[in-house]
Symmetry: C2
């Protein structure tokens, strides 16, 4: 290993000097970014990398789902690749997704003229964030043939997904037909798929380490819970369940009972791989815009209607589903006790990646030791495109080897304008990524 | 007392046949009504009564606040009057307020040609409901000179209150000057002020009685409680207060702790005259329309922001305020325990009418006994214009004698299209009102 292989903070900074100006919400990056899935801003960033790739003498191809694949020109039988996305949530930072593309591009640009026994590829996926159309990993799942056709009717900013895809030169009929753009023979030739990402949590920063080696990717189970009680005059309706069927009061008791359920499980298993989040209480803009029941609530009324979102995440699907059954029982029992009807509707369910490729994790540890990078192993709490790749199998029935590299981000902030990772932090992660891509799998 | 004095169900039905067509949201009354404060629909109902009054040979006058006063033509030194309003909450029924006006009008129309030692007056107040401009009893408080000038800037349906007043021919400069339209000498000549209203609760119906004799009117203390925590990625942020400053979780615990606080007080005093209501959790349309923080919440984020409304009502101001101090402490202590900042902002505070005029209550009981109307005594949980009148004093420092008559309403429903009282139920209340107005005070 030679020093000239390592990506410098300067390499990262040069790309960000341009990229901080695409889809920014203000003059300074601290104002946040908005590059929606299949938006002009997302395409603009992809075109930047297409141009850079051509200048560097790399091949580029756009697939029918609108993803951009950048490849070395050699005609190898085997490929080591990395992937990430460039879209953001509204008011997000410029690191979730983009850092992985910058790291991947600088890695391939640094490596492509060096001798290797395999080709190198960067996949820039469309629309990983669910914020726009309510679906995660649109580009990757379309490319792998797993995006269900009803997704095309989901709407954002006045356009259906099908319309937004067409506007960016992609072909929505691909999704209707269920045809993947990444064929089986292409999957068979992938030696390893890698993704570098900011942690989006505070664990690495708290531990003061350079690198997170990701052990698995948590599944997310998401539901809407809708509570119907009865609207009544607050002054004239006596207190107590005999008179009041109070949706807001029931909601509060449900949430506290769910909190107790979680704490009980955590007491029994201090290493419990589970997070439980009520992100929304009556605070989803899209739902509220046509929810007349919600706005029948008033200061001077007993509440007749409320809703909340309920999310569980774990790398352990089986445990998650077992816990969820108890949670649903808790919700229903509490609602009934307050004379409330509770309706539970699934929003989405992703499959966990219980364990990412073990030999890739071992390789990462070895390279970190060589570079004197401190590291920690941890699961990914967030969903990533890499999870979809980890669910693919090759013709010989072996799973595609997938690895993920985390770098710390400041105060663990993400999906917020405060999201930040320094050029030095990114360069360390990119150097690890580049070394791994150059060396190939050791096993 | 003769039978021809009694108001018939037919008298009530004739007015409602017309009134069910003004401000209705559909062809059938079951679709609900919307007559906002200082709206064309409110004015249309008032003009109906103005026309009816003129036809009956009664005097009419509009005051500068836009209220309509209907009076007998005699020039008496003493007046017995009643009052109510004709505006509704959005999607309300046609009984809250209007029933009192119909009862009052039929009473005066039936009595005005009979010999009396006093004049009779009906006050049709503007804008009793707070739903439009966020302020209760706009017309009555303007007429009594107690409406603060900043109220003129409150907005509803694209207009300020000042603009809405002008559109209906009222004079907002009256409010800026703080001048009452009901002068002290007019107050001095009022022997009694009465208001008939639907109960807006289920107590009378449950007891199966015809009439509620109101003992007092509850004060309402209303606040917004705003919680600021920290937005974080739900998947990547570990559970526990060390990592999460979760506004939604804190909100749930606050509400449950307030519920416990209430139940503890109720255990100590089973007749506790107090109701505690959280009507809004993030569900105020006006607030949400310009609340970007609320819509920073997401399914996949730890919640950084939430708000709720907090209302207490009691006829006992002192007890209410003592309880409220403990409630505020509960809110703050719970918020702090979850790393959340809680801001408490007053929306409004009304003064309770601890006891309505005792001799009027005795007269009502006597008349009910004569008519063989069953009755029950109870406090009014809701605010009414009569409460403002009860807070007025005459030059001799005696309080204005004020009485309230409740009639049952179906299933206790109000502020809803399901609100209903039968013509027979209203006629009984109107007959009691008419008899009381004819006889004058017995003391």
């Amino acid at each position: 290993m030679t020093n000239d292989m390592i990506i410098s903070a300067q390499d990262i900074a040069e790309h960000y000097a341009v990229l901080n100006r695409i889809g920014a919400l203000g003059e300074h990056p601290s104002a946040g970014f908005h590059r929606a899935a299949y938006s002009d801003e997302e395409t603009a960033v992809m075109i930047y990398f297409e141009t850079q790739a051509k200048q560097a003498g790399l091949n580029v191809r756009w697939d029918a789902a609108g993803n951009l694949f950048i490849e070395t020109t050699d005609t190898q039988e085997q490929w080591i690749e990395c992937g990430s996305h460039v879209d953001t949530v509204p008011g997000g930072g410029n690191f979730d997704g983009l850092t992985g593309v910058v790291a991947g591009f600088t890695a391939i640009a640094a490596l492509h003229q060096k001798p290797r026994s395999h080709g190198l590829r960067l996949r820039i996926w469309r629309g990983e964030e669910s914020a726009s159309f309510g679906i995660t990993s649109i580009g990757a799942s379309a490319a792998l043939g797993t995006l269900a056709a009803p997704a095309l009717d989901k709407r954002h900013a006045g356009r259906s997904l099908a319309q937004a895809m067409r506007k960016q030169g992609a072909n929505p009929s691909l999704i209707e037909s269920g045809q993947p753009t990444i064929k089986q023979n292409e999957l068979d030739q992938i030696t390893a798929h890698l993704e570098l990402h900011i942690e989006q949590g505070i664990v690495l920063e708290k531990k003061g380490v350079d690198i997170g080696i990701v052990t698995g990717i948590r599944a997310a189970s998401r539901d809407w819970v809708t509570l119907h009680g009865e609207f009544d005059h607050s002054g004239a309706t006596p207190m107590g369940k005999e008179y009041r069927r109070d949706a807001n009061l029931a909601l509060a008791h449900i949430l506290v009972n769910l909190d107790t359920l979680f704490l009980t499980h955590q007491e029994e298993d201090s290493g419990l791989d589970l997070v439980q989040t009520i992100g929304h209480i009556n605070s989803n803009a899209e739902k509220n815009s046509h929810d007349s029941e919600l706005y029948s609530n008033a200061i001077s009324k007993v509440s007749g209607y409320a809703y909340f979102s309920y999310e569980l995440r774990s790398c352990n699907d089986i445990m998650l589903n077992r816990y969820k059954q108890k949670a649903i029982q808790t919700i229903q029992d509490t609602a009934v006790a307050f004379g409330i009807s509770a309706k539970i509707e699934s929003i989405s369910n992703s499959n966990a990646v219980k364990a990412l490729d073990q030999s890739l994790q071992t390789d990462m540890q070895r390279i970190c030791d060589t570079f004197k990078y401190s590291y920690s192993t941890l699961p990914s709490g967030a969903w990533h495109d890499a999870a979809l790749m980890a669910q693919q199998t090759r013709s010989n029935q072996t799973p595609l080897p997938v690895g993920m590299i985390f770098i710390p981000c400041q105060h663990g902030k993400s999906h917020s304008p405060e999201e930040f990772a320094s050029n030095e932090q990114i360069a360390k992660g990119a150097s690890l990524l580049a070394t791994l891509m150059q060396q190939g799998l050791s096993k």
